[in-house]
């Protein structure tokens, strides 16, 4: 039993997508027009659309006016949703929401060959930042939250632990996200880090922005790995390879890169958790800017199967 990516399709417009009717769409905050377009498109075609938000302070999932602790989420909510197909809009759903929905769907439909489709629309363009000297070329977030664990993916590493962990950060455009982890850690929890760069990037050349932004953080590491920006299947494989190479080491993922990378990480985490292998996770819950991107670019449809 495992969660697998069985198909990746790419479309130029939403209208090219074939949507099954007895389906539900999970979506998150619609901060820019691409997420709104996706919601509008699905509203006309699917049976139900459900907004899902995770509150990292309370560790609870909010659905309409109800909140669920993560242990209640499966029994009290997901269990009652029986659809042929589940759509997840990864454009608007945050990392934690995607993780928890997939985690619980996987538990619910174990061994049932159930299909899940994740939709992700690339932006046509990211908004440029206003301060060119040191600020990001792309200004994506207003402020950062605290780095937190997301149960059930907690892994304890402190000064008493017998071994430190290996941090696996995914590189995006904003270096301060990795910078913050390293700055606050200061060698206490992580003995080394293996960054993963989105290559090929969504657009040729973006990998250079990402590398340049992370110059300080990367100058002392020689273990950088690569995975295509738009491919969760590859990302899962890259992570698996790292896991096999670093046998018996504690790994902590920091999915602060692209959304498809984050999906790959989620598949890896879920499959490992099923085998009782603890992989840690740290995430900073950035507050995304309203209208931070312009237009819709490529649309990806990732088909996942719960086997």
């Amino acid at each position: 039993m495992s969660l697998e990516v069985t198909n990746i399709s790419s479309y130029e417009t939403l209208n090219s997508l074939v949507i099954e009717k007895k389906a539900i769409l999970f979506y998150g905050e619609t901060l820019d027009n691409r997420s709104q377009d996706i919601l509008d498109f699905f509203s006309e075609r699917t049976e139900k659309e459900q907004k899902i938000l995770y509150n990292e302070e309370t560790f609870k999932v909010q659905i309409n006016d109800k909140t669920y602790r993560n242990i209640e989420f499966e029994n009290k909510y997901i269990k009652n949703l029986i659809y042929d197909l589940y759509y997840l809009d990864a454009t608007s759903l945050g990392f934690a929401e995607l993780l928890l929905i997939l985690h619980n769907l996987n538990r619910l439909h174990k061994n049932k060959n159930k299909k899940i489709k994740i939709i992700y629309a690339e932006p046509k363009e990211y908004k440029r930042g206003e301060n060119k000297e040191f600020q990001d070329e792309f200004d994506l977030t207003t402020s950062s939250g605290k780095f937190q664990k997301i149960p059930p993916y907690s892994l304890l590493i402190d000064s008493t632990s017998s071994e430190k962990a290996i941090l696996i950060p995914f590189l995006g455009f904003e270096n301060n996200r990795l910078g913050r982890i390293l700055e606050s850690d200061d060698g206490a929890r992580y003995e080394k880090y293996i960054p993963i760069l989105a290559l090929p990037a969504f657009e040729a050349g973006w990998e250079n922005i990402s590398l340049r932004r992370h110059y300080e953080e990367l100058k002392n590491t020689n273990s950088i790995r690569f995975s295509p920006a738009n491919n969760p299947y590859e990302m899962n494989k890259v992570l698996d390879r790292i896991y096999k190479n670093e046998r018996n080491k504690n790994l902590v993922l920091a999915p602060i890169g692209t959304k498809p990378h984050a999906i790959g990480a989620i598949i890896f985490l879920i499959n490992k958790e099923e085998k009782n292998i603890r992989i840690g996770l740290t995430y900073d819950f950035p507050k995304k800017k309203d209208n931070r991107t312009d237009g819709i670019g490529n649309i990806y449809e990732y088909t996942l199967k719960i086997k």
Binding site: F59, K132, P151, P152, S154, L155, G179, E183, K192, N220
Partner: protein, 662 residues
Amino acid sequence: MNTRKLSTIFSKNRTEELPDDIWGKYVLPLNYEEHNLLQFTKSTVVKGGRGSGKTMFLKYHCYPTIFSPKKSELKIDELKNIGLYWRPDTDFSNMITLNYLNKKWKAVFEVYFGLSIFSEFSKLLIKFDESPYANQKHKDMIRELVLPDDLCKLFGMKEKSLVIQLDKECQKYRSELNDWLNYPEGKPPIIFGAKEKILYFINTIIKTVEPFKDSCFHIFIDEFENLTEEQQILINSWIKHSQSPLIFHIAYKKYYEVTSDTNSSEKIVDVNDYRIIDLEVMYEENFDILASEIILSKIQYFFKEEDQKYEVSQISSFEKRKDEKYQNKIKNKVKKIFPSLSIKETTNTLLQDKALGNKLEKLIKDGLKLHGSPLDAKNFICQEKQDKSIINGILLNRQKTNPNDLLEKFEKDDNEFYKKYLNNNLLGAILLLYTSYEQKICPYYAGFERFTLLSQSNIRHLLELCYQSIVEYEKKKNIDMLLINNFHIPTKYQAQAVKLTSKTQINKISSLGQYGKELQKIVIRLGKIFLLSQKRKSQSMAEVNQFTVKGFEIDITDKENSKLINECKIWGILKEESNTKKTTEKDNATTLYILHPIFAPYFGISPRKKRKIDLEYQEFKIIFIDKEEKYQKLYTKYSKAWSIDNNKHSSIYNTNSLLDFM
């Protein structure tokens, strides 16, 4: 052949970064005896900024260092007070809250803490066995020390289990606790009251064996600021009633606002319940000596050092280290490795550079033009009077100066007249000329004395400056098998390194806490305004790198600004002092904010604490929180007011300077 590069000794290597046993590595500050944590009979709050060596300081007092096999002996006296270090996984402890676990949080936090400390005690005994403690019989007793039945039962261990096996058991329970927290249903895997059980363990087991009969155990909780408020309150309650044989100490970032509440209606109070150690204050005194010893003790294993071994971790070496002769010797040794130029020598370097010489001539010409004087600029420059020639450049750009009178004084070499300007304006004038060329770096920033000025008792900055300087030098030359007496890094490499370090530090600001991006913006905005002031040809206000805010005190209720100011202080970006040097009678500001000197070289401004700018409250707000357009207007306003040539000053900022890194 030395295969290791000297720079690696100073570079940050994650695995070696924070070893638990820091004996021989930790340079004990000379005023340490007033700050010896283990001599305190009540709790201590250790405060220090980023890079202040807080963790090293705590670890010096803990068992891996006290029992270090690197010591020649371990005396029984040293066992009277023993520290145990605990830095929680704060992402993990953030889950142990009322929000996530309801009322169970307290029991779970106690278990998390308790299991960690029991594990440390078990490791303490294992380390003791490896220590240089001479009495083998005592060691045998400790190895065979058995847990009482009730604790064996609590931890699910076989009867008569050994204390040294407890670590393994605690690690197992910690892992189970982690699993339980992922799905917090039913009871946690184990429940016990941490403080009570630890005290019981100390009194009924540890203190029964000879070497620890009189021991008091000190638990140092690092990163206290990142625990949740309810967790802080619980620990405060332990602090309130701390006494031998179990004393709790906490450490957190200076200026962080933590709660002083306890579980009862009482608060913990300074002096009554705890003492404060401010590491920055501790290091400030004699920082040059401390810095010299840190550098020399690091490089002593690289060079063939004939006459000196640095013993820096032991109290017994204080007598030698406090000796003036020794101190002068080590300071001179480091000054030889990182030589500096005096301001006069800097002047000489400046005028040997043709382009900069031309700039001075141009500055003089501009001044003469201002006065409509027909005099020849060349008359105001003389190789024998280099410093006065540079002063002429700025004096001629002042309205009050009469060029003919000045020329007369210059020709007469009127020392009395120039004295004041040489003292107050020479460095400002030198920096003014250097700011004309982005690629030229003022060598004033080079040298050990400047490194201590730039780092301001921040050890991390100091080491980074040394590291970069050596890297710059290694790019050109092999440092290999040299005797330390022959080794020095020329100022030009150091100056390049300083600028790079400064830039790196600005780049890193965005990673400092939740408001990093805002703080970085503030530093860039302030730095640019200070640079504008630095570019004033008249240098009537030389070396501006501080500010006060008119009437700021009235608006302290402005939460956003107060929060950002406090974040600047927490992360060591701005230093706050009381405004004692009033600029005018109207200057009613009580607080002065100084930009950390480590950022000065990037902007090309002075690192010395000299002058300030009085900002209107609105201007302060623009710099701190407003959008870029408003700031640009303010910037333009100042550049007009100070008659700065607009085309030139802004050019270096219009490109993405980060490209330079690649």
